[in-house]
Subunit: 283 residues, 2 copies
């Protein structure tokens, strides 16, 4: 595995691979890798000649009240996981390498942002889309891998790739779960033992909603109410949101039909958990 | 010459050329081609294996008070000029091909816009940078050609390519001029015979400023005053602006030094003319 810190070297490397006709799978991350990232790398490894992992904590996607400096970092551990996952190139640029001066251009995300978690993080997805535009041009991948845990991010990246015609295939990777259904997250360690026992109810609530839809329920409000009731009955968590939208357009629905997402965020004492499922519903 | 109207076909074509190791020169235009465009095509033809011309009147770069519908179009003539210029691929998409639905992402230009012509056209360069981002991904050129007549556009494109790391070489092409120095423009036909006789004074004023700088003048205000005086003495035009900035950053200067631009806009009865020169000034 080669560790690359400059944009120029990275562009040269990947240009060589493309000239050789090699496919490049790209997993962009902010580091502090966990099993969710490992699942992305595994899929990228299976589907491509070359796997590129980027580790870059992107200041542009942090809000003024979000702590960029305190975001966890552990490069030594990340390197080990990257090696074990068969990564060929680890791109690890500094902030000054990526932002040597004020940007003269940025990507503004106009759709798919004022819902779900984006509602409470204005500008967050602008920062995500801007750094991805830079990284996509630096790595020029054949395929880019993103976890469905952050389904809104996948929707924004889908819009970015489609509307700007990036010649890149977006590969969404299913959420990795514990045996009891809880979505894996570095935040799960902040749950109290009792909260950890309750937390699988989030996914169970989504599964209950899925069954209700399979049994003919088509009213989005009824689905949200069902999920909320379940979470309120089986956990002490405080519901941030439970929402149903078309996917990946993230438009409100009068009636459940087509590709949809049911997404939720629930606050426990020291951790806010998110989860979602997407379904393809016959009319 | 092949005329291509769909994004998909264009991406397939240019991907083939790249796989064959061919260099692609790209000239993006809004059509109604004149000698300025022909100069871009000539240079692109000299420097590349394949020349791609796009003709697309981009609604996104027109303001609410600018008349997109009345922008002149003449596809038959454009085709003839393209053929005569040795164009290989003419990309001529419809508005619905380029904008089939509301864009979920756009490029926001943050620097180099609130000066010169950009000052009076808010959002114009956002529209330019957005359509170029799309076109760059559709054509994936080796080199892209822009005329220095619109020096601010060249500066914005320079920022776009540099900050987003497009693997594209920007080639600025000098302004094409009449024998008497007047910059060629489709707007020159709107000048009265008397105004046409006066109009070369714009370039003459810029040349006078150049000589003053060569003779040691380093005060930007003095240079602007000199240009304004000359234009007011020798024409009946009304000065919109005469400005001096660093180039391509378009930052104000305390003292003339390094790469700079002197740019002006002058309103005649039925035509607003722009012109500029760039200089590399020793400190």
């Amino acid at each position: 595995m080669m560790i690359i810190q400059t944009i120029q070297e990275m562009q040269q490397k990947t240009a060589q691979y493309r000239q050789q006709g090699k496919s490049i799978g790209f997993v962009p991350t902010m580091g502090y890798l966990h099993e969710g990232h490992a699942a992305l790398l595994k899929k990228a490894r299976e589907e491509n000649d070359i796997v590129v992992l980027s580790v870059f904590v992107n200041p542009l996607q942090f809000g003024p009240n979000e702590d960029f400096d305190r975001y966890p970092r552990d490069m030594e551990r990340d390197e080990k996981i990257a090696k074990a996952s068969g990564v060929d190139l680890l791109f690890y640029p500094s902030v000054t390498e990526m932002y040597p001066r004020p940007l003269s251009v940025q990507v503004a995300v106009k759709e798919r942002v004022d819902v779900l978690c984006g509602k409470s993080r204005p500008g967050h997805f602008d920062g995500v889309a801007t750094v991805l535009t830079k990284l996509f041009h630096i790595v020029m991948p054949t395929r880019a891998y993103f976890g469905m845990k952050d389904a809104q991010q996948v929707a924004v990246v889908d819009g970015l790739i489609r509307d700007f015609h990036f010649p890149i295939e977006l590969v969404p990777v299913p959420t990795v779960r514990e045996a009891d259904g809880l979505a894996k997250s570095s935040r799960n360690v902040y749950l109290s033992p009792e909260e950890r026992k309750e937390a699988p109810a989030l996914y169970a609530a989504l599964q209950k909603a899925k069954r209700a839809i399979e049994n003919g329920e088509r009213n989005p409000s009824a689905i949200c109410a069902l999920v909320e009731d379940y979470i309120q009955t089986y956990t002490h968590g405080i519901i941030d949101y439970v929402e149903v939208y078309s996917y990946p357009d993230l438009q409100p629905l009068q009636k459940i039909s087509g590709k949809i997402i049911i997404a939720l965020a629930v606050r426990f004492t020291n951790a806010r958990l998110i989860d979602n499922i997407t379904l393809d519903v016959e009319s």
